[in-house]
């Protein structure tokens, strides 16, 4: 995974992983997936900020 995704992988925290699983779990019975997608998007935005910040630091 590290070879494939490089240094930015370190921007993805254990909390993010746990949040990812929690979201999947929380909305597993929801036919309407919009809430799940919205919260996943929020997670992505936070992670993206960290990824960008890290890339700038490394760059």
């Amino acid at each position: 995974m590290r070879n494939q995704y490089g240094l930015a992988i370190e921007s993805f925290l254990q909390d993010d992983y746990e949040q990812l699983i929690k979201l999947a779990w929380r909305y597993q019975f929801d036919d309407d997936r919009s809430k799940y997608k919205r919260e996943l998007r929020e997670l992505q935005e936070h992670a993206s900020e960290r990824i960008l910040a890290r890339l700038e630091l490394n760059g």
């Binding site: 995974m1 494939q4 995704y5 930015a8 992988i9 993805f12 992983y17 990812l20 699983i21 979201l23 999947a24 779990w25 909305y27 597993q28 019975f29 929801d30 036919d31 997936r33 799940y36 997608k37 996943l40 998007r41 992505q44 992670a47 993206s48 990824i51 960008l52 890339l55």
Partner: protein, 657 residues
Amino acid sequence: MSLQFESLSLKNFGPYRKIDELSLRTDLEAPIVVIHGENTLGKTSLFRALRWCLYGAPEAGKTASESARGLTNYMNRPAQADGESDMQVAIKFTADGHQFHLTRTALFRNDAAPSVSADLRVDSQVIQQASIDVEIGRQLHPQISEFFLFDGELLRDFYDRLNSDRERDLLKRSIESVLGIPALQLAARDIRTMTDDVLERQTKAMKNQENAEAAQKRLRELKSRQESLDKDRAEIEAVRRKAQSDLEDVNERIASVEELKADAREMEMLESQIKGGEAERQQVAEEMRKLLASGWLAPASTKLSVVLTRVAAKNDAAQEKQREIQAARGRVDLLQKQLQGGTCPTCHQELPPPETATQQELTDAKAKLQQLTDEAGNGPDLPRERRIRALIDTDTIRTYQDKQAQFNKIIAAQYDRKRRLSTIKDRLKDNDAAKIRQLGRDQERLERAIVGYSNALRGYDEEQVKIDSEQKRAANALRKLSGSQPTLAAEAYFFQYVQELTNRTIGRYRERTRTEVERTATEMFMKLIRDSEGYDGIQIGSDYRVDLVGKRGPAMKTSEGGRQLIALSLIGALKQAAVRGGPVVLDSPLARLDRKHRENVLLRWVPELGTQAILLVQSGELTEQQAHEIMGSRIGQEYRILRPNNDPEEAIIERTQ
């Protein structure tokens, strides 16, 4: 906390007209509910009532809409014959610390499909119709229920179904539902969609890269144009500032010329005033000279005033004496007339006759008159007094003084005018008309130059507006095309990574739960089988194909009872690995088992099911006595189904103890 049934109520369902709150409450010490009923009495109806209430479909593997028309078969026929048209099942259960009350009602009219409605209250709060299935699914999903609301018929086929290609996928999905894998699969599906979306946007962004580079080039050109413009403008501004400064200087000088012109006008006015002032001075001087000539006696007026005072006093005294003489003469005349008799000349009354004293008085009066006449001398000299008074001149001095003041004023004004005239003449002497004309020409030239420079700068402003506009357009284009690319890249990175992560998680989780289920199922099978010698265990494949493993390897042959034990072992293992706890309801699970294996199931398997197991059994598999002997105090509730009127379409349920 897992789901736990509290009670079941039925109205006109199957053979049951009315069951009010059949208690299903259990606890850890007594987790088992046993419902005894011989074949055809109505065990399966109870089981299906439970299913229908939860999912709208009495039978496993069918949807609510698929089951709608067949519901008529469940409507209690005696009730229907009595004109009743509604069928209802209500379940009370607890889950996650909340109290649920679910009621499902079917109304039958004519031969059409019944109208079915559901009512769910969670802690007395009414749940919207559209959310009921989701909410029930959240607590006990229909796919999960396949293993825990278990029909004996299904159990019989379970082993074969697991190992048949036709149904394996369905069961696999159900098993994975029990294990919670669909949660991750759903998430993975959404993540894939979102990944596709971001990759699509990224592809589009890459296509735009060329445009972005063109926009960047354009921006560079505009920047160069801007620098050139700034340089030209700075030069023009410098020249304009110089011209402005020169103009200000010229204007200042012209302003001073204007002042000189004003000075000249003032000089003319002063010269005229000086001339007029001189004439006025001469006139006043002449008047003063005349006053001096005519008023020569004026300086003697003081002494003449003293003399006049003295003469006037003397005349006043003389006049007083004259008045006394006049009075004395009047007295003499009166006395003489008294002596002569007659009437009073004054009042014309008869005078009294003369007395002796009157003669004396006359003599005295004459003497006094004589004395007064002697003392009076020549009397007052009024002409002299008039002459002296005429000689006294007070006007001339005052007039002269006024003239003197006027003269002084004229002299002062003339002096001031002459001084100002002298200053103005000094100022004017260095400026001639040629110089002033040159200044006017310079002013005109500079003003024209400044207008020219200002126009040139306005031209630059127009150019600046064009550059700004183009810059803005190029920057906007660039922002749209490439400005968000790092963000887009991070987003794509996230979703690709998360997709990979989720897929790996699903794989790892699936393998972990499969291993766990395999181990637990093997342990359970070993507990259930009469003699475990010769069995190595149960093997569960990645597709959940179940295989009995013996000393000679997998694919070990077994009896129908053995297969049922394998199915029960798998169900028990799934129950333990299930992501959500809940009751297990088994309809005739022991039918194919001999007594020893039934005991094993009841003693070793049922306790593994958690806090609630509901067994619907017939006496062929478990009598009431056997139930007490085997499970004893672990039975929390026990009922028996009866046919009260020997009518196969009627059934009642009663507590056994």
